[in-house]
Symmetry: C2
Subunit: 240 residues, 2 copies
């Protein structure tokens, strides 16, 4: 049986300050947990209504009612695990990097991490105001990709000032990305859902690019940040 | 003041059967409503906590507490409008068409409608099990694009059997889309979030394509349907 204290210790991990303090994050569902178990991540606790058949000493059987008490999902999915948040890895400098400036929506960050994984991009750099990658909604949206992409939180302005590689950013008045030569080493910056790239970061962009709009004049103003990331990464990669 | 009956008539539009029966859909927020007012859509009722300055006879002032009672959003946004669902337009045959097979998530359908609008694709054909485009969550996600893309619900199997244009679908074993000649007229089919394209529809695909994966062997299994749509439409359009 789960004690009141156990429930409290798990559910408070919804808040970033307790994730930082306790050093754990939550993953839910058999598929996601199995992917994380197969990675370098260290399991702390596993609560499940079914058996895992891996002889894990951290496994504890719970009832569906108990799982509902600790789950962050509307419909809990058979298992919930606590993993240790790994230590930040050193950032590699000589490769293609995606950088995020104030991306706030957990679903968008999760989708962008999956896209980095798909396109073989190992470094994702986030400014300090970007949503935490160990937020439960991000973990659910990444589907295990979080274990293969190195996510770092940094002062983005300082980071971009130091890089010697070209810094790309998407703007309405940028160069047509389909007709632009794109390098295999560089940084691609994506901005906030409502406001785009902030002025301080815009000043550090060396290459302004644009995804051409093919629709009518009165067409949609902008693309969602995750779909723009998909199109731009596809375009960078197809040219490498 | 809003009567109990008015509240009931509005909130039941969350369900498709009442949208079909009553012929109205709900849009919320100043920005979305203004975009819809500027289109061919017919306004039925407008409930707002602020003034609209357009002298609309359908405008009714409500308090924030009243707006909360009729809103589908967690945080209501100043205005809620009922628009008439327009009559289905005839489908154009000689152009590029996007077709959806069992797309269930309203956010994904909304994003795909915005992408069609961005890339100048006027025809979106959905099978009957795809989520309704007048679902409030779809309307919020499309940001007005719904007025510029003609969405039709059809028996997709019959539709694809009748078309003489090539039918494209994405599969892991398909041809590298970056190296494939893509026509300016044809149909691109996207499938269900969990199961992809169904076997009946797969049998009607004439051109199997794939988005190459650049990551490690153990990388993410698949892309989200909205990000896959973004990459594929970008690739079709850049070649036109």
């Amino acid at each position: 049986m789960l004690s009141k204290n156990q429930i409290k210790v798990i559910t408070r991990l919804k808040q970033k300050k307790y994730r930082v303090q306790d050093g754990f994050f939550v993953a839910e569902g058999l598929k996601v947990i199995k992917e994380l178990l197969d990675s370098h991540l260290e399991l702390h606790q596993l609560y499940t209504t079914v058996g895992f058949d891996r002889g894990l000493e951290q496994e504890q059987h719970v009832t569906e009612a108990e799982l509902k008490k600790i789950s962050f999902l509307t419909t809990p999915n058979k298992a919930l695990a606590l993993f240790k948040i790994p230590k930040a890895k050193a950032m590699a400098s000589n490769q293609f990097v995606v950088a995020l400036d104030n991306v706030r929506d957990p679903g968008n960050l999760g989708t962008i991490i999956r896209l980095c994984d798909w396109f073989g991009i190992e470094e994702l750099v986030c400014n300090l105001e970007t949503v935490d990658c160990y937020n439960p909604k991000v973990i659910q949206a990444t589907m295990g990709s979080i274990t293969r992409v190195n996510v770092s939180y940094v002062n983005l302005e300082s980071y971009l000032k130091e890089t010697r590689n070209p810094v790309f950013g998407a703007f309405m008045d940028g160069d047509n990305v389909y007709k632009t030569n794109l390098p295999s080493i560089g940084t691609l910056v994506l901005g906030n859902e409502a406001n785009g790239i902030s002025p301080e970061i815009e000043a550090l962009i060396t290459n302004r690019i644009a995804i051409p709009r093919f629709g009518a004049l009165q067409a949609t103003e902008s693309l969602n940040v995750a779909t723009a990331t998909a199109i731009l990464l596809s375009e960078f990669k197809r040219k490498m």
